[in-house]
Amino acid sequence: MRALFSFIVVIALVAIVFVGVKGANLEFLFGVIIPYAALATFIIGFIYRVVKWGRSPVPFHIPTTCGQQKTLPWIKDSKIENPSTTAGVIARMALEVLVFRSLFRNLKTDLREGPRLAYGSDKWLWLAGLAFHWSFLIIAFRHLRFFMQDVPVVVQWVEGLDSFLQIGAPLLYITDVIIITAVTYLFLRRVYIPQVRYISLAADYFPLFLILGIAISGVLMRYFIKVHVVGVKELAMGLVSFNPTIPEGIGVIFYIHLFLICVLFAYFPFSKLMHMGGVFLSPTRNLANNSRMVRHVNPWNYPVKVHTYEEYEEEFREKMKMAGLPVEKE
């Protein structure tokens, strides 16, 4: 049901553009106004969410990481798993962001005969997640050729590598195949594994369908329902130079693609997709485990009125002496 709901929402979004562009000629709305509004929502919303997270104090370092903490010199510490230095934290964060290290540890549990609980390695989620995110990044990077007059060589290299199989014309991009396969797997996984299906919400399915919609509309546009690509670049260049134009005869599939992307951007700050910023703010990833070396002051500590032993002795010295208690100063 939750999957069906998300699916219908995405289909409705596609229908809205189709009717808007085909029926009501709202090219300017879908090609200029909505993209600007979506980007503004994305950037402002993203900053708002991150600042809100940043304002919540972290009372102490969270050392609940696997790996040996830095301690006595003859005990080998685990420098990346349980870092005590900033360099170690950067290495751990880089591995997390670039290769999803913690997902690599994903396990599956099985209740076998006996009854006996068995744990096994389960790398499929990691693999599909990695394939999906990297393809997405490469595809986004490749799109820079629509936003720059002289396309930098790096973008052209990436594009050349991505299409090096030289299948068909226009050339087939490898990432196009990978992203659709990976997103489809990630969706099927949610439906197929009962435990995962049970915890999946509409907010889990919607981004999947949305991204699948974006990928499919892009693939359709590049390989099947062709569009006026030069016109697309003119529109994109108009947007980024604040000189919006709507070239004639681009084709409705382009507006569908663009609108789904705008929805993704606008939806981003309100959704679980914020893990893009959130991963950098995870206390178990971004804090060095140096609580034995550095004193961390809890920011919400109010000034505590203390009465030190010296002061105590000062106050009660005579009485203590009379009671025969030892004192430090005579």
Binding site: L39, I47, R55, V58, P170, V227, H228, S241, G249, G277
Partner: protein
């Protein structure tokens, strides 16, 4: 502990990345490609028309070329019937490039703008053009 300065630095990087196209294009003029069709062969045509209507060619010429290639090489069918019933010999060099003999001012005009470099010319011969 808040680490505010690190978070703000991160946010600046974020804004920089996502507004990069805007920053990059600031104060830069963008020129649209204008493919020229003023070649001798096209000048002599009674009707200045391509093998298919212009709007189709603009969007689908790469697909058409791919079909031409398959048709000539795989099916040994070297005649193409255009939308208006006119027949063309299927050939990149002897049909397309005969009319569009100004590759630099035609094909490349769009392709440079889009940063596509068709690899066809690794093997096929480009039309000889006068040095400009």
């Amino acid at each position: 502990m808040y680490d505010g300065s690190k978070i703000i630095a991160g946010l600046i990087v974020f804004v920089g990345l996502f507004t990069f196209p805007f920053l990059y294009n600031m104060g830069k003029a963008s020129a649209k490609p204008e493919p020229k069709i003023d070649t001798p062969v096209i000048q002599q045509l009674a009707e200045k028309k391509c093998v298919e209507p212009k709007s189709f060619m603009r969007a689908e010429h790469m697909k058409l070329l791919n079909e031409w290639r398959d048709s000539a090489i795989r099916k040994a069918k070297r005649v193409y019937v255009g939308a208006e019933g006119k027949e063309y010999t299927i050939s990149l060099q002897n049909t397309c490039m005969k009319c569009h003999s100004n590759k630099k001012k035609f094909c490349d005009e769009c392709h440079n703008y889009m940063a596509v470099k068709p690899y066809c010319w690794d093997c096929h011969l480009e039309p000889k053009e006068k040095k400009l």
